[in-house]
């Protein structure tokens, strides 16, 4: 346990030193403030509180940004250390390989958490001073932060897997970008295509569509935040169609958790079998 903490601590120090934390927090803050300010203009007449609107716009921002930040943190984590040779020395210490992986994961998760809280906190502060927000909205904000960190965890884990399966970090970077494009952009486009071409009568059936939608961690994230913000503007037409039936919050969360654990375990197994 102590070993895991030492490694996590080092990752956090590294991220602080190379200003990863600062940069990603700033980026998230700038975008979330912009969204908060833009969002309030038309919504001013509506009943929804500013925080509720902000929550929804932040959720749609997170879907793109959080995976990107997480992948950039993780794609280099193993391949980079193998390439520099520092991993070799690290593994002569009395540490187990899974401890290295879990240590890095914990460290990066902390980095993500701090960046998200600082970044989105700005928007929440702005909302807090500019209007009355109920407990529900604050609860919504809390679960937005939590689920965003979970979404980040999914892409950290996927990034490690990419970092493990290849020898060179450049290749790992390529895979990471590919993962982002497929899971965040293409997957939805394809589903949307299916939806549009079917014109109301889904060829694959409502059930299958729901399953497909839930299977993707980013859509699970969308569904979760939709369910959490009743009555607010729907995040996208896609989730409106798919999430028509109440999916609840538990299912999307479990899907995301599976998406965290599966790549982590796979990476750990590959790591264990790796000849140095």
């Amino acid at each position: 346990m102590k070993i895991v903490l030492v490694i996590a601590h080092k990752e956090i120090c590294d991220a602080l030193r190379n200003r990863w934390v600062a940069a990603s927090a700033l980026l998230l803050a700038a975008l979330s403030l912009t969204l908060a300010l833009l969002g309030t203009a038309p919504a001013g007449s509506a009943k929804a509180s500013m925080l509720a609107v902000t929550n929804v716009s932040l959720a749609s921002l997170s879907v793109y940004l959080v995976p990107l930040i997480a992948l950039m943190l993780s794609f280099d984590a193993l391949a980079g250390e193998f390439e520099r040779g520092t991993m070799l020395l690290l593994l002569t210490y009395p540490v187990q390989r899974w401890q290295v992986l879990v240590g890095k994961f914990c460290g990066h998760l902390c980095v993500l958490f701090v960046a998200i809280v600082c970044g989105y906190g700005c928007a929440a502060l702005l909302a807090a001073v500019s209007g009355d927000n109920g407990v529900d909205e604050w609860f919504g904000f809390g679960s937005l932060i939590g689920s965003s960190v979970l979404l980040g965890a999914v892409f950290l884990a996927l990034g490690y897997l990419a970092s493990m399966v290849v020898r060179e970090r450049a290749t790992a970077a390529g895979i990471a970008i590919g993962l982002w494009i497929v899971l965040v952009v293409l997957y939805d486009l394809v589903l949307l295509g299916v939806l549009l071409s079917s014109q109301g009568s889904l060829a694959i059936g409502e059930q299958a569509f729901q399953v497909l939608l839930l299977a993707n961690p980013t859509d699970a994230y969308r569904l979760f935040n939709l369910a959490g913000s009743h009555g607010a503007t729907l995040v996208s037409g896609l989730t409106e169609a798919g999430g028509g039936a109440a999916t609840g919050t538990l299912l999307p969360l479990s899907v995301m958790t599976v998406w965290v654990l599966t790549p982590l375990v796979a990476t750990s197994l590959l790591f264990r079998r790796r000849e140095l």
Partner: protein, 308 residues
């Protein structure tokens, strides 16, 4: 004396099918400096990597202070410090942090005074806040030594510690190694410099093509070096050495036209006069004679020379 590292029948076949080690048996005694000599690709780094747990042995096993390196890896690795051959460090980390990080990974509580002492002995104290990337190669090598010493190991592996280190620094480094040995640390080093092994080591091992071809006490080796050889070029080749001359321990070489007599320079008398007298009596005539002294260098070269 019980050995601190016991390597038995250790072999390594890499995934490529290349056999890097062939049934190595080696015992390292506690508190000694053991020098491993061998040409490039002999298997020195492979052997060290197996003991340190980053390469898996194909067959055979290693125990460190009686603990199996696989089963009790925590115990054995905690006793070992490794200075790798390649300069592998974090570029942006400061010297102080990287050394403290190593100590932390060994599960040891922070001990700034000890780290300070290590950095001072390695003349790194004034660089402690510098980023590693701003250091020279020799300094980086010393940072790696500091990392290896961070957890107060009982065994230190130095894989070519003096490659790329200038003469003055090399001397200073050996000073450090000697004082470590005096404090009870066992040291295993690899080198290509024979003088270095001659200078530093208590025992010397020579490895070639994955085989350990010689392990000997340095003093014993040097005593052998104290010997000279007298080579006589014979007129007519001999089939066998006459019984009368057996007391001299002669050897025949070059198809019977060379007669070699090995003698101790420290010995009085050397026995040359007597030998020459007896040769004349036996009717063995020679054309020429010369004497040679074998150096460690020569022994080394003859040992590792590939058979034609």
């Amino acid at each position: 004396m019980q050995s601190i590292i016991a390597v038995s029948e250790l072999s390594k076949v890499y995934a490529s099918g290349f056999q890097a080690l062939k049934s190595i048996d080696l015992d390292i005694r506690p508190g000694e400096i053991f020098a491993l000599l061998g040409p490039n690709g002999a298997g020195k780094t492979t052997l060290i990597s197996i003991i340190c747990g980053i390469v898996n042995a194909s067959t055979g096993g290693v125990t460190v202070a009686g603990h199996d390196i696989r089963r009790d890896y925590r115990v054995t690795r905690a006793m070992i410090g490794l200075v790798p051959q390649e300069l592998t460090t974090d570029a942006f980390e400061s010297v102080w942090n990287t050394v403290s990080f190593s100590r932390g990974l060994f599960g040891k509580p922070a001990n700034p005074r000890y780290i300070e002492k290590v950095l001072k002995t390695l003349s790194l104290w004034d660089k402690k806040d510098d980023r590693i990337m701003t250091l020279s190669g020799g300094m980086k090598r010393r940072v790696l030594i500091a990392k290896a010493l961070s957890h107060e190991p009982r065994i230190l592996f130095l894989d070519e510690p003096t490659a790329g280190v200038d003469v003055e620094l090399r001397q200073a480094m050996w000073e450090v190694v000697r004082s470590l040995r005096d404090s009870g640390v066992t040291i295993i080093l690899t080198t290509h410099y024979i003088e270095e092994a001659e200078d530093m080591a208590d025992r010397i091992g020579v490895i070639n093509n994955g085989e350990l071809i010689l392990v000997e006490d340095k003093n014993e080796l040097m005593r052998k070096l104290g010997r000279k050889q007298l080579t006589l070029q014979l007129h007519d080749p001999l089939d066998t050495i006459p019984d009368k001359l057996s007391a001299y321990g002669l050897e025949l070489a070059a198809g019977g036209v060379e007669l070699i007599y090995t003698y101790d320079t420290q010995g009085e008398p050397t026995g040359i006069t007597a030998l020459l007298g007896e040769l004349q009596q036996a009717g063995i005539r020679f054309k020429d004679l010369n004497t040679t002294q074998r150096s460690l260098q020569e022994i080394f070269v003859s040992l590792v020379k590939k058979p034609a």
